[in-house]
């Protein structure tokens, strides 16, 4: 700086480091790891029992929802507690679109399940877009509280619109998902390598495919111009505006995309439970605690990190499932009644503690820890060269 403050114009540096995104020195290691993970996930149904597969599917449901929330909260900087509402909206949309009209008590359109799934995602995206005017005006905790109102709206809607949701007492069973005539249910006999492929195995592949698509789309968005405009709005709205980013549009887009992800997670939830049952109280499948659980996944994984959201979902949605399975095997936490430790209660403690630890010691979450490890590895690698 000091020597170029004179009259002479600055000379261009001989070779400025190329700012173009290069493949990291470890790119092939990363690729191999991703491939190994994919292969592992693909062969798991051949070895695991159905209950373990169901636990895994529940983690994938969480992962899809958490990816949506990390885009909204981490990338675009908008706090939302409405995720559970969009989950309910997505699940209801799928059930209604694919369901049949039964004796005038239920409304159904009898559409193809794939079409219904896409329709449910579109409907929730539109609902998210409808909330955008509110989201554009509020920020931070105020937006969080305003979005929380939607959860109560969902609770009321679930109870009131019995012709759509089936009501809180009986619920409504969704049409099983099917693709070109192949049903993801216990229908028909299918054996691969002497392993019977029933609902659990079939849904595993469906969920795996949906999660993979959700993951890749989100990563693409984060790396592209869309993600950049979200981060620009998050960091500094006026500066983003003078850069040519339409701030209201970026915010509304983030909300719509996030809602669409939640809607997909809602469809997966309904398929996983095999029933759509709106909550009786605000602490149910589509209640406040679910919204907060998604927030927990996103914070533990690292705000804004898409792989982080996956790991966060693994912790938050996986732990109660895995604990429940282990506890029946080992006879832990089997007591009943008040004051006993259920797997759900214990995992709430664990992820509560995880949030506190993350906020205190690594605000970047697991993603930041991962980046640090990767950085250190590539450093040693570079040292060897």
């Amino acid at each position: 700086m000091s020597e170029i403050a004179t009259e002479s114009p600055p000379t261009a540096p001989e070779s400025p480091p190329s700012p173009v995104r290069r493949r990291g020195p470890m790119w092939w290691v990363r690729g191999a790891l991703w491939l190994a993970l994919l292969v592992l996930l693909l062969v798991l149904p051949l070895y695991l029992e159905a209950q373990w597969l169901r636990a895994g599917q529940y983690m994938m449901v969480g992962a899809v929802g958490a990816i949506g929330l990390t885009l909204l909260t981490g990338q675009a900087g908008q706090l939302s507690l409405a995720h559970a509402f969009f989950l309910l909206a997505g699940g209801t949309s799928y059930t209604v679109l694919s369901g049949s009209t039964e004796g005038g008590t239920l409304v159904g359109f009898g559409l193809d399940p794939l079409l219904s799934l896409v329709g449910a995602v579109v409907i929730t995206a539109l609902l998210g877009l409808a909330f955008a005017p509110v989201a554009g005006r509020l920020r931070g905790i105020y937006l969080g509280v305003a979005s929380l109102a939607l959860v109560f709206l969902g609770l009321y809607f679930g109870q009131a619109a019995e012709t759509l949701t089936g009501g809180t007492s009986t619920g409504r069973s969704p049409t099983p998902f099917s693709l070109f005539g192949f049903e993801f249910s216990n229908e028909g006999d299918l054996e691969i390598l002497n392993v019977p492929f029933r609902q659990a195995e079939r849904l595993w592949y469906l969920f795996l495919a949906l999660t993979a698509i959700a993951f890749l789309l989100a990563r693409g968005a984060v790396r592209s111009r869309v993600g950049r405009s979200w981060r620009a709005v998050r960091d500094n709205e006026p500066a983003a505006a003078v850069m040519g980013v339409s701030v209201p549009r970026a915010k509304a887009g983030a909300f719509a995309v996030s809602s669409a992800y939640a809607g997909l997670a809602g469809v997966m939830t309904v398929l996983w439970f095999d029933i759509l049952k709106p909550d009786e109280s605000e602490f149910g499948t589509y209640g406040i605690n679910v919204s907060i659980a998604f927030l927990a996944m996103v914070i533990i994984g690292g705000l804004g990190s898409v792989p982080g959201a996956l790991v966060g979902a693994l912790v938050v949605n996986g732990l109660p499932q895995v604990l429940a399975l282990y506890s029946t095997d080992l006879g832990w936490f089997t007591g009943t009644g008040e004051g006993t430790f259920t797997p759900v209660l214990i995992s709430s403690f664990v992820y509560g503690a995880a949030i506190i630890l993350v906020v205190l010691f690594e605000p970047g979450g697991l993603a930041a820890i991962g980046r640090r490890i990767a950085g250190r590895l590539s450093f040693t690698q570079r040292g060897k060269e």
Partner: protein, 270 residues
């Protein structure tokens, strides 16, 4: 290129920031806008860039034309699309993004990858330090470097008119001189500049034309050279005295008596 006619701007219901401003930015010229705090300099730039509403201001009257297009009703994104790009006051960079990402964010308006690459090359030529630090977080740059990044980011979309809001704010004199040089270079490469400054010395050296704002009106306007000769500008902004030392001392004495007459905050009496 840019003409502002009888522009009136208010914040909220009552605070009038601009009362009828007229000015012209000539094709590929540098216009300096001088004035003290609260004169309406930043408001003027906000109005041109369309971000006034984000600061809860409204245009009450008047028009802004860019070429033959009226732009005072457009949203910020379309104004950027026309080639008018601002560098907001206080180097509002995206602190959590890397330097390179900041530059990419600036190129969001440019469609073709080729033009983006050319713009990046130009920015890196102007600011070699940004190439060296491409991968660092922008928040870790020094103040001067952050200002360079803010200017570089604005240049990424290949603007035809650059709006600079106090680029010298809080920078060391040497860095200020460097920023002045850069503005001249940008101008030489064919971009018109509106430069809002409190640092009148630098601004008048760089600019062709200048206006002086005083509480929301244009008090003086003319060529930069002419204004720097003018007594009033010298007295108010350049720190020199036009007439003589005697006059200066007289004035200082007048100021002292005036100050003595005013109630101060010297002591807490109660």
């Amino acid at each position: 290129m840019l003409t502002v006619r009888n522009l009136q701007v208010r914040y909220g219901r009552s605070v009038a920031a601009l009362h009828g401003i007229d000015l012209d930015v000539p094709d590929d010229g540098v216009l300096a806008v001088l004035g003290s705090n609260g004169a309406g300099k930043s408001t003027l730039l906000r109005t041109i860039s369309g971000t006034l509403r984000m600061h809860r201001g409204t245009v009450v009257g008047g028009e802004i034309h860019y070429g033959d297009r009226r732009i005072d009703k457009l949203d910020p994104a379309s104004i950027v699309g026309l080639g008018i790009v601002g560098v907001p006051e206080g180097r509002q960079i995206f602190a959590r993004m890397t330097v390179d990402e900041n530059l990419r964010a600036g190129a969001m308006g440019a469609r073709s990858a080729q033009r983006r690459a050319a713009a990046r090359e130009r920015v890196h030529e102007l600011f070699p330090v940004l190439a060296e630090r491409a991968r660092q977080r922008a928040g870790l740059l020094s103040g001067g470097e952050q200002q360079m990044l803010a200017i570089g980011r604005a240049l990424m979309s290949g603007p035809r008119l650059l709006l600079l809001d106090e680029p010298s704010l809080g920078l060391a004199p040497k860095v200020v001189a460097r920023i002045g040089e850069i503005i001249r270079e940008i101008h030489a490469q064919g971009t018109a500049v509106v430069l809002v400054e409190q640092n009148a010395v630098m601004a008048l050296q760089v600019a062709d034309h200048a206006v002086v704002l005083e509480v929301g009106t244009v008090a003086l306007s003319g060529s930069a050279a002419g204004l720097s000769e003018s007594e009033e500008v010298q007295r108010l902004y350049l720190g020199g005295h036009a007439e003589s030392d005697a006059a200066a001392q007289e004035e200082a004495a007048a100021a002292r008596t005036q100050r003595a007459g005013r109630r101060g905050l010297s002591r807490w009496a109660g």
